[in-house]
Symmetry: C2
Subunit: 403 residues, 2 copies
Amino acid sequence: MGWNKVAIIGVGLIKFGELFEKSWEIMVEEAYLNAINSVDKGFNPKDIEAAWLGDCRPGAHGSQTLAGVSLVGNIGLAGIPCTHIENGCPTGSDTFRNGCLGVASGVYDVVLVVGAEKMRDKSTAELLSLASQGHPIIQRGETAMTMFAPQAIRHMHEYGTTKEQMAMVAVKNHKNGVYDPYSHYRYEITIEDVYKSPMVCSPLNLLDCCPQTDGAAAAILCRADMAEKYTDKTVYVAGFGMGTDVFYVHEKEDFTEFVASVRAAKQAYSMAGIGPGDIDVAEVHDCFTITEIINYEDLGFCSKGQGGKLIEKGETYIGGRIPVNPSGGLISKGHPLGATGIAQISELFWQLREEVRASGGFGDPAINEKRQVEIKKGYALQHNVGGRGISNSVVTILTNKKG
Amino acid sequence: MGWNKVAIIGVGLIKFGELFEKSWEIMVEEAYLNAINSVDKGFNPKDIEAAWLGDCRPGAHGSQTLAGVSLVGNIGLAGIPCTHIENGCPTGSDTFRNGCLGVASGVYDVVLVVGAEKMRDKSTAELLSLASQGHPIIQRGETAMTMFAPQAIRHMHEYGTTKEQMAMVAVKNHKNGVYDPYSHYRYEITIEDVYKSPMVCSPLNLLDCCPQTDGAAAAILCRADMAEKYTDKTVYVAGFGMGTDVFYVHEKEDFTEFVASVRAAKQAYSMAGIGPGDIDVAEVHDCFTITEIINYEDLGFCSKGQGGKLIEKGETYIGGRIPVNPSGGLISKGHPLGATGIAQISELFWQLREEVRASGGFGDPAINEKRQVEIKKGYALQHNVGGRGISNSVVTILTNKKG
């Protein structure tokens, strides 16, 4: 059976988008309030004994560093410990992972994890300069695009993956985003739209890429054996894994998989005591369309090289064999780095509780429910990959089964 | 009895200073190698299952964010999880705390914690701009100096603390630094020297302040019940605490104590099942001389308002009732933010094992041993305080007793 030492008792997020009108402080406060108000049997904030804050780009809101007090001092919880984590694209999910370790350690019974990111208050050029790392010559010109585009080219060459299959990922995720009230974009697109959108870095057009999005998300965790105090519909953390990889391009052996993801998934499946066939629904890191296709393979949803065919056969649509990114994913919902992982977990919390209709009280229930997947085996998988040289990945497995 | 779920089996650091000749990568590698080579019965790096990296100012080495792979990819450990933590001045000690939670959770048996900071590669003005936070008008002009100097003035006013008592802290710590081969500064100073040094922010002269220092430190932790595999002289983590406080000046109620420290100490003493009278030696956060005096009170080494008299009576000198900062402290050894907490823990590891003479194989044993304190009750205390508005503190208690 799974690890199941930690329970999720509440989640909350804010509508993702270009939130020029909201300060960072307002964003985290709203996500936090939505999380505590979501706890079924009520929740006293005084129960929170420790917190973790995920925020990836300290420079994005005014060249600031962000000690954990920036969170707790801001939401009326000054006093308790708060750790600030930055860990590239998996910042949110690693923040969640550290919160789980805190509870499982026996030191804290109830903890808060919050992820947030201001991506639009500064120019993309400034944001990119913050992400540059490593040897100044070896890493010259390395951006997210120039790291992921060669993966697409190699995957096309090795396995016959097509531009059309990649575009299908964007079409699917935009369609799902229409049904998610928190999504940055809420409109459908066609394969033609992807082809006609500006070329950013061949073979990736603009609509193959996720947008720059502001957002925040929060979750409240407690010891599994305490969860009934707060809810009768507990979601448990069945397992998690985090993997890393070498980060310089010349050190990589394979351009068709993300080694960090494979490692993270292996740990998470092992801890949860299940395999890919047990997953009812997944929220995975589709920063680019090719990323989602490679994720299918790295996470074991299909065999190596078959990712393109998996989307082509419609198996990852809502209603398919293994629905992926019902929330709209990074491509439609958006990717506020620190928030993304916790927002994915929030979506899976609702999916496993079959509460997507409500979506935390946001949106039109009749529209929201169109993204509810069928829960059969009771397991859901969250995944992020990124960081310096695509060398960092977190996988989390949630379940509605007690153990 | 104490918590004692986690053992420290090895520590390592590099000589602190202005390390223009060493890249960040070289600094962390040297500290890591010193730590693994320090394990008594030998150590296979493959035993490390997870890592935490503390580094406070991502902008300090080229406007970079620092995902955890920057550490593990650099030291040949690509594959394992690595979380990057930033948490103001307690970054190093909070990194250690998260490593402890990781081991105590039962998920990882052996973990690595590394702290590092490049403080000198960029100008102080650039570094300060990175630390600015919060409301742009309310926080205007807030620097470390302008936060700590008013504390000194108020403490002088309330309790009769004197400039001379403050200077005595600098004299003591510089004297101790002479005996620490890792210390940035290794020369004695006099009270007159402090008075004659340039006024930085009244009443703090230059020699009341810690310098800007580059450095790195590492520690290897494991489950307490596994420690005998690695060493017969285990040091255990008896307890730890982390406290936060409101961060805007106008919200503070008292300018003569650091509320975050009081909260952190209370948690740590409670977890360790001891009180201040059980501490044989302490490494505390003397970013300024007044800080050490207030720490004496906040940590319970004397009653409120008596901190100045404690140093005046010589009780915190090596050989005194409660020796504080035998390593030279931040004032003499230096304060590379991410590294400081783990370097303090390294010093206390050697103190508790009565191995200061060797100091990890560095320096002249005949000089090193002059800073060895007498170990009576077997407990040592580490402390950091700082972050936005002096609102963030970590206290760690170590012991040589099995529990």
